[in-house]
Structure formats: structure tokens, C-alpha cells
Symmetry: C2
Subunit: 332 residues, 2 copies
């Protein structure tokens, strides 16, 4: 097993990405190929000595920036780190790809290099949210805007295959993100998607609302990529806001004496609740291989967890399982 990591992708690349890769490799014994500028990567590696034994570097010249139009950049910059990472996977020299770079470009490179799974219309980004009763998969979180109802059905089918095979769920419940629970609610896209989901073999339980992403009443929430992206970023911003305020309020309710007694223990708790980084990254579902997209501002810890996630999903035949689900659930 070898994970190709786009060393040039992300706001703090290559330093933070290399650090995260080193941590994943050292802690979990994962072989990693760092793809990018050899000079810059080697400089960072040199600081970590023996921890880099399982890491090698694949040099390439080009970088796709966060601002570039994804498809055009992927087509033009053949020697970019993200394209080369997927090339390695395509040639069998890597088993999965992790990138914190331009997420649209990462998806486009994955689709163009590996191809889509048979019958998949639109690969999608599936975010794993820490709900009150375990993980919840929110799909799509930004891979596709202006989705058709069939795409939303396929998101549910792909996410079910993923949840069963990679997250160990049994017959996960699927909900359609909508503005009310009753059938017939929502815009035309939602109403038509409802009918398709209802007629499928998925364990579809009906419409769910924003708050239900956390309640555990479903394990998979399907939606258009526009809505999903807004929802995900809102949840992240909200976690930050609420935890900060709550900590301030709690600390201010303590006397000086109590504060010195408790010290900075709350800081740790605060971080823990806040820490979406432990989820590491967002898998691209629907391509012929394992690709993980990370936040542009990922910490080394987030990169580490994304690499471990990628390693964990490798060898589970996820693309085949998705293809089987798609064929079996009548949307192929």
C-alpha cells in the first residue's frame, strides 16, 4: 500500500502537508509518495530524520493554485502535483490520493485520470459529520451544483455503498435534505428526487431538515452540492462560534480561585469538540479509485488523519461495491 499525497496542495503547503504525511507514516506505518517540488519537500523532510523512512518523493514542476478554474487548470497543467498524484494511482504506483489543494481540480483530475465508475453520472464529495449518534454522511458537499434528481438518487446509492463498506454501517438510513418533513415539500428538484429515492431499494426514510444532520435519525443525508457546501461550511463556522462563546461564558462564571484550580483544562475540551480535523478529509465517491479531498487550511493533524483514512479505504474495492449498488438499486 502506498498513498500519493499532493505535497503542493493547501494553504500551508508544502510544510504542513509534509508534516502530516510524516506523522501518518510514522504512527501508522504507511508508505507515502509525496508529489511536488523535490527541493521544497526535501527541506521539510530533512528536519524529521528517521521518521521519513517510508516516505519517497516524486518530483513535478507545476502547481494548480486554489483560485484557478479547476477543469482548465487540470487540462493544461499535465505536470501539476495533483495530476501526477492521480497518474501514480492510475499506473498502480499508488493506491490512493490525498490532496488539500483546489478541491474542484482534485475532483476533475480524479475523474479525468481514473474515470468515473460505470453508470455514475456525477462523482460527489461525501463528508463524514460527527453526529450525536455516530457518523453521518452528508453528500454532496460541493462537487456538483445544479444537480438533477437522478444525481441526488445516485449520491444516496454511492454513499450507502461507502457507509456499508468503509464505515461498517448496516443498512444505513437515507434522508433527503429539505425544508420540511412531509412528502411534497421543497423545490422541484427535491420533490422529484424524493420520488426517485422512494422508488429505489435504498433504506430511504423521507425528508429531513437541517437539524437532522446531527440527530442520528438518518446516517446518510443527500442534497444538491450547493446546499451541501453551504451547510458544511455553516456547521464548521458554527462549531467555532458556539464553542468559543460557550467557553468564554463558562470561564466567566468561575471565580478567580476556581479558574486557577481548573487551569487550562477547558482549552483541551474546547479543541476536542471543535476538532473536525480528526475526520481528516472528504472522499470523492464515483471515481475508479480512492481520492480524498482536504480543507485548504488543513492542519498537519488533519492531513495525517486524511492519509490514514485513505489507507483505511484502500483495498476495500469501493469502486466495485459502488458499481454493484448502482446496478442493483435500479439507477444504472
Amino acid at each position: 500500500m502506498n498513498i500519493a499525497v499532493d505535497a503542493m496542495g493547501g494553504d500551508y503547503a508544502p510544510e504542513v502537508v509534509v508534516q502530516g504525511a510524516i506523522q501518518a507514516s510514522a504512527e501508522s506505518g504507511i508508505d507515502i509518495t509525496l508529489v511536488g517540488d523535490k527541493g521544497a519537500i526535501s527541506e521539510e523532510l530533512a528536519r524529521h530524520g528517521d521518521m521519513t523512512r517510508r516516505i519517497n518523493v516524486h518530483h513535478c514542476e507545476e502547481i494548480i493554485s486554489m483560485e484557478e478554474p479547476p477543469l482548465r487548470a487540470v487540462r493544461r497543467k499535465k505536470d501539476s502535483s495533483i495530476n501526477i498524484a492521480f497518474d501514480l494511482l492510475c499506473r498502480g504506483e499508488a493506491d490512493a490520493v490525498v490532496s488539500a489543494g483546489n478541491s474542484g481540480a482534485t475532483m476533475a483530475a480524479g475523474i479525468l485520470t481514473l474515470g468515473k465508475i460505470a453508470h455514475v453520472e456525477r462523482p460527489a464529495l461525501a463528508c463524514i459529520i460527527p453526529g450525536n449518534q455516530g457518523s453521518v454522511v452528508l453528500i454532496d458537499v460541493g462537487g456538483n451544483i445544479d444537480c438533477r434528481p437522478l444525481h441526488i438518487l445516485q449520491f444516496g446509492i454511492m454513499a450507502s455503498a461507502f457507509a456499508i463498506n468503509c464505515l461498517g454501517m448496516k443498512d444505513p438510513k437515507v434522508g433527503l435534505l429539505n425544508i420540511g418533513k412531509e412528502p411534497g415539500k421543497g423545490n422541484e428538484q427535491a420533490r422529484l428526487a424524493y420520488d426517485l429515492l422512494q422508488d429505489s431499494d435504498l433504506n430511504f426514510v423521507g425528508n429531513v431538515e437541517g437539524q437532522d444532520i446531527f440527530t442520528g435519525c438518518v446516517q446518510i443525508v443527500v442534497c444538491d452540492g450547493f446546499v451541501g457546501n453551504v451547510a458544511l461550511k455553516l456547521a464548521e463556522g458554527m462549531a467555532l462560534t458556539v464553542t468559543r462563546r460557550m467557553k468564554e461564558d463558562m470561564v466567566s462564571s468561575l471565580t478567580n480561585e476556581e479558574q486557577s484550580l481548573i487551569g487550562d483544562r477547558f482549552d483541551g475540551e474546547y479543541e476536542k469538540v471543535l476538532d473536525y480535523a480528526k475526520y481528516g478529509g472528504v472522499p470523492i465517491l464515483g471515481i475508479n479509485g480512492v481520492g480524498i479531498v482536504c480543507h485548504g487550511d488543513s492542519s498537519a493533524r488533519a492531513i495525517k488523519n486524511a492519509v490514514i483514512m485513505a489507507h483505511d479505504y484502500t483495498g476495500r474495492d469501493l469502486p466495485d461495491k459502488i458499481a454493484v449498488h448502482l446496478a442493483g438499486f435500479g439507477s444504472g
Copy 2:
């Protein structure tokens, strides 16, 4: 000044609604007309003795339930509490309406009874969110789905008039809720709305993302009612989830001795952070009068605050101010 309160609207009506109205009246000296079943309302009023001096009851027979299709219910049930409440406003017997009932029906009754402000295409629900740097108005949070770009522009104009006149803001910054900051991001609706907002006289600062609802980089966030409704419900669910987890984590980081020292002080803080109820309700912007929609599961405190909010907005000539803004900002 007299506020008409739909006593039959909401999950815990009439009891909780009547309690909230009594609290608002007693604490803030507001005259209130409770609209609904006289017998049931009087029973609750009887428990509160002298606190009900400023409250009278307007009897009506019908109730629109939470599940009924809004427009049809409003048209058929002429004697429903929500229709009668707006009738009182229309006849000058009340100055504002508050309802925790079927929100679609409340909007429909407001529009049909009071009429839309000149040039307004679609009245909308404007939620006031407690951001990190003061209030942020999120519009539309569910009044309209499948919005056209012009509607989204008008949401921005109406919300600006509202923020200036009712919230005391000066030249509030307006952001378009989107999936990336750069111009050109998003679906077709968002791209076209961006252009209209850019060409308007609003203080439009461009696209914002989900997390920006809290950061204070803008004071008004405009979006389609589908996206806004999902976002609002997600934020509410998230506040509940994060605060609960954080409190548990913090308490578990304390020794038994520390816990007994601190007692249940954290419970109060927890509630405080969580308490969206203090915002009470969501004004309907674009109708010829003041109408406030409350959550179906509103507490007495939420109803109280909505009544105080309604009272506060009354007499500010909000419909006229919105009309002037619409004419002046070139979308009339």
C-alpha cells in the same frame, strides 16, 4: 399600540402562547389581543389574575393546523385565528401580528389580507442571527423556494431597510450566500443574483460562505429560501448539539470536588448560549404591516420576546421605508 397574537398557533397552543403573551404584557406594558378559542384562552388567563389586565380575547372558531397546505387553508378557513389576527391589523384594531402557527399560512394570510408593498415581488422571512459581532439578518429563511435572481436582490433591499430602521444599523454590508468567495462562483441563480446585487445601490460586498453568517463580515446574508431554511435549521440543531457535547466534556474534565464547587452554574451558561429564543421570531418583510412568525415549538419566553419585538417594530413605518428603498435602489 395593540399586538394581535394567534393564540391557537404552535405546538403548545394555546397554553404556552397565552403564557408568553401575558409575560410580554406584564413586563413591558403591551396591550394584546389574543385571537382564538375564547374558552380555552380564558381558562389559561384565569390562572394569571391581575397580570392579564392589558389582554383581551377575540374569539374565532377555526384553526389552521401545522400540516395544512398554507394557501388553501388560508383561503378556506376565513375564520381561522391567523386570518382573523391579520384582519384586526387590516381594520386598524391591531398594530402587529405574532403567530407560532403554520408559517406558510401566516405568510399567506399576511400577503392576502394586508397586501404586498408596492414593487415587492416576494415577501420573505428575515431571521436575526446572533453573530460574533452583533446581529446578522439571514433572508430568506423559508418563505420562498425556487427564487429568481430579482427576488434575491429584493431580499437584500428589504433587509437593508429593515436593518437600518428596526435594528439601528448604519449602511449594513450585504453578502450573497454562495459556495465560494470569488465572483462567478455558484449556480446560475447565484451568478445572476450576484450581478444584480453588484449593480444595485446596496452596500454589497460580494459572495459569502456558510461560516460567514457568524463572522460579522456582513450584516445581511441573502439567499434562496430553500438554502436559507436548511441553513437556519442546521444552525439551530448545531447549537444544541455542540453546546450539549461541550458541557458534557467540560463537566467530565472536573473532579467530583470541583463539580460540587461549581454546582449547576454551567447549566445557566449552557442555556444562555443555546437560547435563540431571545430573538423571539422572524419578521415577514414585504407585506403592508408588521407580522412576526415564531417557531412552532416556541417556549413562553420566545413568544414573549416575539411580542416585544413586534411592539418594537410597530410605528417605525417599516413598509414605507421598504417601499422607498425599493424605488431608490432601482429594482422597482
